[in-house]
Symmetry: C2
Subunit: 397 residues, 2 copies
């Protein structure tokens, strides 16, 4: 298959434009895998890891079971079985024209093909093991996939005005000082998060469930074009691929894997965002959920994450940054609780009449030494002052 | 002191009315301690546990340090020092007239004095150790303090419409099948929780920071009178005591100790409810917090509880019941069926014409008491309202 494709000048040209410094055979083999295997195909991941993409493709498409798949090979029997099965689904999809179309369409829209062997490859997605992406098609700045910190901000398509407000605030506040906002390009929370990042001149990455040459949803045509220009639009699937239910679910694992933390802003009880959150939790990545009114169905999924997935409650950008270990100087609670003696003494003091120390001891139920100690402190702070006839609080009046 | 007081016929009579089967000397000594020691006074708690209230009082008020306080005694030195110090604050407060006044005011308002040696004493407050209440003054049904399950529902005085709605729903839904709603009688969330429990014919307990003869806040005069009649109004402090900042904080620990679970519905960043929540957490009692909009300052304290106190996110009564280990068939996805009475009553109501309670009972096939209970809830929720000629639903039209 590869030999056939490489004989086509248009294929060679497209492959060169996608990976100027890459080996042509390698580029074409990876493209073929991107066409043949669905995202997250563990059998493909394992075979490519074992043999490299070119040889793996030969074995996968050979009409005969190769030595690797024979009972004599040193490969574990369950893996051999998985490969033998997988060949049944790979071979019907292996068409030269499909691979050629993928290469040419990508070259046409100026996409690049990012591969695990590239320096720019985001290593974090490799934590998905055999189910890790085997290739990423990128329109825009591929470097954003490695730049940190990255916050994956996702949520319901059917978002409320409240959720959109919070998503915009969080994404803007995170992106302004340099975090990359990763999301899924969908209507609702995703779109708001992307837009807020762009609005502050920040960086954002949209992970699509179909090819990067297709705007999905169509209503986000302009937004995705802008992200492709100022950020990055990314997909595992080759150009021309339509998003499917499965591809949305598979895409979610990449969003979770790319983020230093994943935050769900709003989600219905069975929202796809919970799937993204589940992947983040499985990967051991920090997971945050934004609470909302218990009366809002759009927050029910977030509350479920707090209850069932041990998600962390996040309400501000600073709290999202804490998810990846960034501590902020801001301590919104600043003051610690007052000493109990102090409270009791303040209750006993009056701003209108002076009270003797003995009387203060009686009123407060504190012993005289402690009364005197606290009075000293209060005097220092200008809260109480001494008069001829005892102590008065310095409050108004 | 006790001998002197017992010579007074009025004192003897008051003591008898407070504890008909109790030992008079004991009742008077406990009353004296209630007057002399502030709530949560650990030195008093330890001394009373060591010697019993009568002898403890004698030692506490004796002008000379007793043998117990002498270096020769077997009591640990730090405890002797604590007692020696404590005597300095107790003795100035030990006035016969104050004790007599406490006894007579309590008898006048028909309060009872519940003591740790009583069968009806709520054992759970003893988990506070030396800081446990030494006496509880009760107006109403003291038995409610032992009846379970008990949900302590607390929250901000400065509550929002959202918080009030949620507090009413939770308290009503918990109280209707029999849970006792414990709260602090304050404006805002506390008051809504008490009212919702009463509205469904449920049980509720108000823990006050001052004497049970005083309505605090004054605007809750009628509500507290109703709770004293249909539930219980309870305080550690003797009649005549004014609430102080310290007493509010001390009172909160009793609310936390009484609840099988504590739920904070709304709380500002420094709300007193966080203090109650902190006590619940310290006691190892289940703690729930109701989330709300991150944009609402009235929910900031609840989110803080979720983040810093490991509170459990609760959004429904069923989820509150889970806090004390009750599992429900209801799926907590917000789709739980409304109470059947409610559905039938809503069908019977009209937004165009007022309908009398009798007619509602006839139309719905519910008995009049249940009609009234449900109407109370619907009124609280703003779904139905009372007119001159009966009830109307408040919907549009």
């Amino acid at each position: 298959m590869i030999d056939l494709l490489l004989r086509d000048a248009a294929v060679r040209q497209a492959a060169r434009s996608l990976r100027p410094r890459g080996d042509l055979e390698h580029t074409v083999a990876r493209t073929a895998w991107s066409v043949i295997a669905e995202p997250g195909d563990g059998a493909a991941g394992a075979l490519i890891r074992e043999l490299g993409p070119v040889e793996a493709l030969r074995v996968a498409l050979s009409p005969e079971d190769g030595t690797l798949l024979s009972p004599a090979s040193s490969v574990a029997p369950h893996m051999r079985r998985a490969w033998a099965e997988a060949r049944q689904r790979w071979r019907p999809r292996a068409h030269e024209e499909a691979v050629e179309r993928a290469l040419r369409s990508a070259a046409q829209v100026g996409a690049t093909l990012l591969l695990p062997e590239d320096e720019e490859w985001p290593r974090r997605v490799d934590h998905l093991g055999y189910h890790a992406p085997q290739a990423l098609w990128v329109r825009g700045d591929a470097g954003l996939l490695q730049r940190g910190p990255r916050a994956s901000i996702v949520g319901a398509r059917a978002s409320s005005a409240y959720g959109e407000q919070v998503a915009a605030d969080l994404a803007g506040d995170l992106a302004a000082p340099g975090a990359v906002i990763v999301s899924g390009g969908a209507y609702g929370i995703d779109g708001v998060a992307h837009r807020a990042a762009l609005a502050v001149g920040g960086a954002t990455v949209a992970l699509l469930a179909g090819g990067v040459d297709r705007a999905y949803p169509a209503g986000h045509h302009q937004l995705l074009a802008r992200i492709a220009r100022d950020g990055a639009v990314v997909s595992e699937l080759p150009c021309g691929s339509a998003p499917t239910k499965w591809r949305f679910l598979a895409r979610n694992r990449v969003i979770a894997a790319l983020g230093d933390a994943t935050v769900v802003v709003e989600a219905g009880w069975r929202s796809g965002s919970l799937n993204t959150a589940g992947h983040a939790a499985e990967l051991g990545r920090p997971l945050g959920a934004v609470p909302g009114p218990v009366t809002s169905p759009a927050s029910a999924g977030c509350h479920r994450l707090l209850r069932e997935y041990d998600a962390r409650c996040v309400t501000t950008a600073a709290e999202v940054r804490e998810l990846w270990g960034e501590t902020s100087g801001e301590r919104p609670n600043g003051e610690k609780a007052p000493h109990p003696d102090r409270t009791r003494l303040l209750d006993a003091l009056s701003s209108r009449t002076a009270v003797t120390e003995e009387e203060l001891a009686r009123r407060s139920g504190l012993d005289p030494d402690r009364v005197r100690a606290q009075l000293g402190l209060l005097e220092l702070e200008g809260i109480a002052h001494r008069t001829d006839r005892g102590w008065r609080s310095s409050g108004a009046g």
